[in-house]
């Protein structure tokens, strides 16, 4: 029991990211409204970003900006003192990708709305079938 509890506590960030990801995934699959799906998509993406950021964190580490004095760059830096910067870099990319996808998706949603006067997938499909 205590083992389970510690398992839950030491990895709670991971549980939260799974929860968020599932919320996003559910919204993308089950929701009917196109914009809601787009929101779900973004939640899904941020959940993965949360996951990566969680990988990067390090007990006893501080933010990855090296303390330094001008001209005395030679002093030794210990990796254990700083948080792992690599996932942060990757996630900057991921955030940018997500906003790019968002832009395109919204543009598509607007285009669809102009054609069908609706954002509900079932109504649109019904209109298509009627034709």
């Amino acid at each position: 029991m205590t083992q389970l509890l510690s398992e839950i506590l030491t990895k709670y960030n991971y549980w939260i990211y799974i929860t968020l990801m599932m919320i996003g995934l559910y919204a993308m699959i089950a929701k009917n409204n196109l914009v809601k799906k787009i929101v779900g998509m973004n939640i899904f993406q941020t959940a993965i970003i949360l996951f990566y950021v969680s990988i990067g964190s390090k007990k006893g580490g501080t933010i990855p900006i090296i303390k330094h004095d001008h001209g005395a760059a030679s002093h030794v830096v210990h990796a254990a003192e700083y948080i792992n910067p690599l996932p942060h870099v990757l996630m900057l990319t991921a955030i940018v990708v997500s906003v790019a996808t968002l832009g395109v998706a919204l543009a598509l949603a607007i285009k669809i709305y102009h054609r069908y006067q609706s954002l509900e997938e079932d109504e649109i499909l019904a209109q298509i079938r009627e034709k």
Binding site: F44, I55, V97, A105, I124
Partner: protein, 497 residues
């Protein structure tokens, strides 16, 4: 100079895309020549790379001068050298062939269209050439994002919705891939493919590695439309403008198959995929279902383009199944089919492009009497169709041969049966098209104004590239031995027998 080929291959089209974008605002007439020059040089570089790989060895390139795994590295070996040549050539031929239809459909936004076109190709080339798992993701997103834009520009009303569905599924796919890479990163601490595969063997029993593998695979399958994750593909490709569908349909799924092979062969290594975890037979069963369902769904289509998209779904099943058979013949077949299918799909989609250019439609009704109206286009279509059916000496036969051989060697007779079934269904599908074009005469409503029996062939600028591809199908078929011996044989790791 030649040591910079790997990066030039990607950055020349990239820079050209920006130039196209600028010239789209300043002088539209320059867009097309720049695009042609960019893709022609990409083809040149990829051919140079392949010959370098064949004559010397694997080509490595350090971007920014940083050694992997700290920096990003490009790695060209037999497998991606081949795929690079295919991608760049297909894109170039399609670009030239669709010049006129693009002019007609996108006269207003020529610059934007060609920018996305070249960026899409850049993305695919980058995916193929890179040796870094995360870099692959970024380029995947470039290819996808430009693909969404290109697909949604179809003249039909349904294109945006189809594209938006593609956005959803594509994003899930890419995110799954990203997540899988994250899992690998958490257990190995590296993003470089070669580095990961060096660290992995001690972790084969880890659940995280297994999950990473499954998640990556699901992501890649989503992107390549492996049944039952194919739902986005038929509509997206059907309603896309013809210039875009004949670019995306041959390339996107094939490059994703390449990614799957790369993950299986390089990142996770055959030891893990075929020995440490025992799932390959069940995956081949999935492929059997994919092939059969693709074939059956194609039978239900009442529209030429849609029918072809379902055939793509079945063909993806071929390649996945072949790769997962776990023997040399199957793997060879999968790689060979990747090349062949790109060419075959290009051929038939170019034909669809020509038909749409003249007939303004691609439903079965529009095909009536087409053999009389467009005999040359339909001649090329016949060659493409025979190749998809798998008739020698077209290339489709030889890859099917390897797949069948692999299936028999592995004792997976359901896969063999599925391949034969799908070939037979393809015969039915294509001869149904031929019958419509051959026996039925166009109705008054459609033929309106044209005297019956007059030839209305597509312009020469569309026919010449089409015939280049059609003849290429036969030539590639005849040179199968050379391709397999000099490239594919060496691309399959020695661990697979």
């Amino acid at each position: 100079m030649s040591q910079h080929y790997p990066v030039l291959l990607v950055t020349v089209p990239l820079l050209s895309a920006f130039l196209i974008s600028i010239s789209g605002w300043l002088n539209k007439r320059l867009c097309f020549p720049i695009a042609v020059a960019a893709l022609a040089s990409a083809s040149f570089f990829s051919a140079g790379l392949l010959s370098k790989v064949i004559h010397k060895n694997v080509v490595l390139y350090r971007l920014g001068g940083w050694a992997p795994p700290w920096g990003i590295a490009y790695r060209v070996d037999y497998l991606n050298g081949l795929v690079l040549v295919v991608v760049s050539l297909v894109a170039l031929i399609n670009l030239i062939s669709t010049y006129r239809s693009v002019e007609r459909e996108f006269s207003e936004k020529l610059g934007a269209f060609y920018t996305l076109y070249v960026l899409f190709v850049t993305g695919l080339l980058g995916i193929t050439v890179t040796g870094d798992a995360f870099n692959l993701y970024v380029l995947l997103e470039i290819a996808s994002l430009t693909g969404y834009g290109l697909i949604a520009m179809g003249e039909e009303d349904r294109a945006p919705l189809a594209s938006l569905n593609y956005v959803y599924m594509g994003t899930i796919g890419a995110c799954f891939y990203l997540l899988g890479i994250g899992y690998l990163y958490i257990v190995t601490g590296s993003l470089n493919m070669a580095d990961i595969s060096a660290i992995l063997p001690s972790l084969y029993q880890s659940r995280a590695v297994l999950s990473a593998f499954i998640i990556c695979m699901v992501g890649v399958w989503l992107k390549m439309a492996f049944f039952p994750l194919h739902a986005w593909l038929p509509n997206a490709y059907t309603f896309a403008p013809s210039a875009a569908s004949s670019l995306i349909a041959p390339l996107m799924t094939k490059v994703m198959v390449y990614v799957m092979l790369r993950l299986m062969l390089t990142v996770f290594t055959p030891d893990f995929v075929f020995s440490a975890i025992d799932i390959n037979r069940s995956i081949v069963w999935l492929a059997v279902i994919a092939i059969s369902m693709g074939a059956i769904l194609a039978l239900t289509a009442r529209n030429l383009k849609k029918m072809l998209t379902y055939i793509i779904v079945a063909e993806v099943g071929y390649m996945v199944g072949g790769a997962w058979l776990g023997n040399r013949a199957g793997m060879t077949g999968a790689i060979l089919h990747l090349v062949n299918d790109a060419l075959m799909t290009l051929c038939v989609f170019l034909v669809v492009g020509n038909i749409v250019y003249r007939m303004k439609g691609h439903s079965f009704e529009d095909l009536r009497g087409l053999f009389r109206k467009m005999p040359f286009t339909m001649g090329a279509f016949a060659i493409g169709a025979l190749s998809i059916i798998g008739v020698p000496p077209t290339c489709g036969f030889f890859s099917k041969w390897y797949l069948l051989w692999g299936g028999i060697q592995a004792g997976h007779y359901a896969f063999v049966a599925a391949l034969l079934f799908s070939s037979l269904v393809n015969v039915v599908l294509f001869f149904r098209i031929f019958e419509i074009g051959y026996y039925e005469s166009p109705t008054e409503a459609h033929g309106g104004g044209h005297s019956q029996g007059s030839i209305e062939e597509a312009p020469l600028s569309m026919l010449v590239p089409l015939y280049l591809v059609a003849v290429g199908l036969v030539v590639v078929g005849l040179y199968t031995g050379a391709i397999v011996n000099n490239v594919i044989r060496l691309a399959v790791p020695p661990g697979i027998v």
